[in-house]
Point group: C2
Chain length 437, copies 2
């Protein structure tokens, strides 16, 4: 995309309302704009990032055997009465009435709806196990929305729902999702630690939060530094193997990690002192196993192999997709701006023309831009070099290809790696090779 | 995907509530399930199709120079008061109040919001032209929702908004979108005819509806058969060229096409009798040029080249993305089920194993399924051949690879083309080559 024609409105001033760095940088870099309290429009740069984050989530859900659907945002209150949650849910639920005065709501989560869909089709044990997920906008009417997209009211969530015939099957499904989450966050350049959690309003027996480390995190966390050494992408686990998923779960949960709420001093004392780490963390995912909490009251049952009716064992698995964009920035930034990890960057590279109008610079920039196509943002504006450098650092593209008159004459460019600050003079071909990875 | 593990619930009976064929087939083939009146969950097959339709829309919007953003579903009533539409809009608008009793609404369209976003950033004529679009769920509280996703209450729409400095610029933007629409629909295997239209509640000076032909269409249409000969994908128009876009517009609008509302008997009489066609049509897109209808009351202005403030000329451009799924089925089906055009099919091929458990059949099916990967649905169920054939025809995959014991022994398969019904015995390699196109 050519910056001269793009809608990428950066701000020079730091917006006064933004209390945390990700919110400030998302506003300054033109990723989002607030349209009402806690409700955001995603501008082209932000939307590109949100799509990349969502696509990684999707690929790892698919890999773990979950199947994508899309449930609507507006739900009937009647469904929530069946589970007993309509009255239990507080003012965070956005309730409304349609033109026929029917009570509806903007879904904050989908346990009821997916159970309703599943019960209308599943008749036999052969219809199990299944795991259905969707990536859809939710609404929670927070009393004081803040921290930008980290605690917005309308937010994008991936929520998956598993249905199993037995408790053992449900635990396997739970571990598959835990494995998928470890891979998902690592692919985004994050370390997310699974920590035992209370089950809260979802209910149930077993629950883990996934928390990434960031100074601005909402919770204090305690963890074993060994966790940082585990490479979930390199590990050879097969999602269909019960043994592999058990091994993955054991590996992930044997290493100590806890929020202050669930902190266990006795277990902590057994972690060698040199490996003890304390910090703050941001929750980016939450998984639950809750048995028949919804299948029982909502009348979901299937015929088992012995002819008896069985209520499926269920779990639900959430990832805050829009929240992750903020969390990634919290974990990857400096004074100058964002430092996108490669996998989620809106553009892989900025092409910076230091002398717009100089024939050699224009020709070389055009050539590089054409070669990179949609992966590049071409700064072809009639602006000073300083402005272009500052905007590229602020927007946080992983690579900057800097083209000046002297280099262009010699057929060379400067290639800067935003994450490390390294700069090298290289040929355009070498630059393209590095950017394409 | 293996059908034995998939969540693809087909129905044997025709649902009584479905009045039109696309609604019946979408329910029978397990594409969607109604969750409230006029509100649908998209099941895996339906969701895959919806994504493919949306992706074609996206690619053609990008090609025409529009930039993707994502605006939220919930909007503030205050914005709509600025344009004067809050009170003008009827009971189709879903109005609600948040926990602080602020008046909000579920957006039926986004002229106000995009104008608000644009006015907060655009300061100068250099910030024009721009075209911003999003693909987002909308809500219109129809009094009697019907025809499945064709007239739902929560529906997916692509809406683009152009901002230009001059009337001439705005007309060029309008023509770019007209060109993008002609390409978009042709890529989906549809012929959509642009017809002059009233501007209705959006307001403005110039408007075209895009209407595809289908017997169940809501409007009677009159058109010149010559229109069917024009190949918009083969035509060499450059979207940045004012001349090219004018030529495209002239070509598309010189050929007679009108709904009965706008039918002009005098012009119709000038169409040679042999080329006159009458039929019924379904609206799948609508484009508007409305000048300063929103920029004026909402105070959007930029500094012109001469230092004077100018109110941008605007247009808006909608495509009913979820409606298109129904419209494509209306235009492509037979007694047995759906006949997906290649570009939007949820799976390119079904692999049909006629003898599950036969070593040669299983091995050959596995090989073909592995080669096709995510493009194939493998019917590995322990079902009779007749059930598998009927389901494959119902679901409408463009290709069926049929593997039986005799063929497998000879290393051959039967390849069926759903659109034409043609069947040929071919080698597995030839089948893969044809399916991959």
């Amino acid at each position: 995309m050519r910056l001269s024609r793009a809608f990428l409105p950066t701000l020079k001033e730091t917006p006064a309302e933004a209390q945390i760095v990700s919110h400030r940088l998302m506003l300054r870099a033109g990723l989002v704009r607030q349209t009402s309290a806690g409700i955001y429009a995603w501008l082209p740069m932000g939307w590109r990032t949100l799509q990349r984050v969502g696509q990684i989530v999707r690929e790892e859900q698919d890999r773990a055997g979950a199947q994508e659907i899309l449930m609507p945002t507006i739900q009937s209150a009647e469904l929530w009465r069946q589970s007993g949650r309509y009255d239990a849910y507080g003012p965070e639920m956005l309730r409304l009435k349609d033109r026929h005065e029917r009570e509806m709501l903007f879904g904050p989560t989908n346990e009821e709806m997916v159970t309703d869909i599943f019960r209308s089709f599943a008749k036999s044990y052969r219809d199990l196990p299944r795991n259905l997920y969707h990536i859809q906008w939710k609404f929670r009417d927070e009393v004081r929305p803040r921290f930008g997209v980290m605690r917005g009211r309308e937010f994008l969530m991936k929520d998956a729902y598993s249905f199993d015939l037995t408790k053992e099957g449900a635990e396997h499904s739970y571990r598959q999702m835990l494995w998928a989450y470890l891979r998902t966050f690592q692919r985004m350049g994050l370390r997310a630690l699974p920590m035992r959690a209370d089950t809260g309003p979802i209910g149930g027996n077993l629950s883990h939060e996934f928390i990434i480390l960031a100074e601005t995190g909402e919770s204090a966390v305690f963890y074993d530094a060994d966790f940082e050494q585990i490479d979930w992408l390199g590990a050879d686990f097969a999602p269909d193997s019960v043994q592999d998923m058990q091994r993955c779960y054991d590996l992930a949960t044997a290493t100590y990690a806890a929020t202050d709420e669930m902190h266990d001093e006795a277990a902590w004392a057994r972690v060698p002192e040199a490996r003890r780490r304390q910090g703050r963390g941001i929750e980016v995912g939450h998984i639950f196993y809750f048995g028949t909490k919804y299948s029982a009251p909502m009348g979901l049952s299937v015929q088992g192999p012995d002819g008896q009716q069985v209520q499926p064992e269920m779990g639900s698995y959430g990832i805050g997709v829009s929240r992750l964009v903020g969390a990634i920035i919290e974990a990857n930034h400096d004074e100058a701006g964002i430092k996108w990890p490669d996998a989620v960057a809106p553009f892989r590279a900025a092409v910076i023309n230091l002398k717009q109008g100089d024939a050699a610079c224009d020709a070389l920039c055009d050539k590089i831009y054409r070669a990179l196509g949609d992966d590049a943002l071409y700064d072809d504006r009639a602006e000073r070099a300083g402005v272009k450098f500052a905007d590229a650092d602020l927007m946080g593209h992983p690579w900057q290809v800097i083209v000046g008159p002297r280099g262009a004459a010699a057929g060379m460019v400067e290639l800067k790696r935003r994450m490390t600050g390294e700069r090298h003079e290289v040929s355009p071909e070498d630059a393209l090779g590095k950017i394409r990875g």
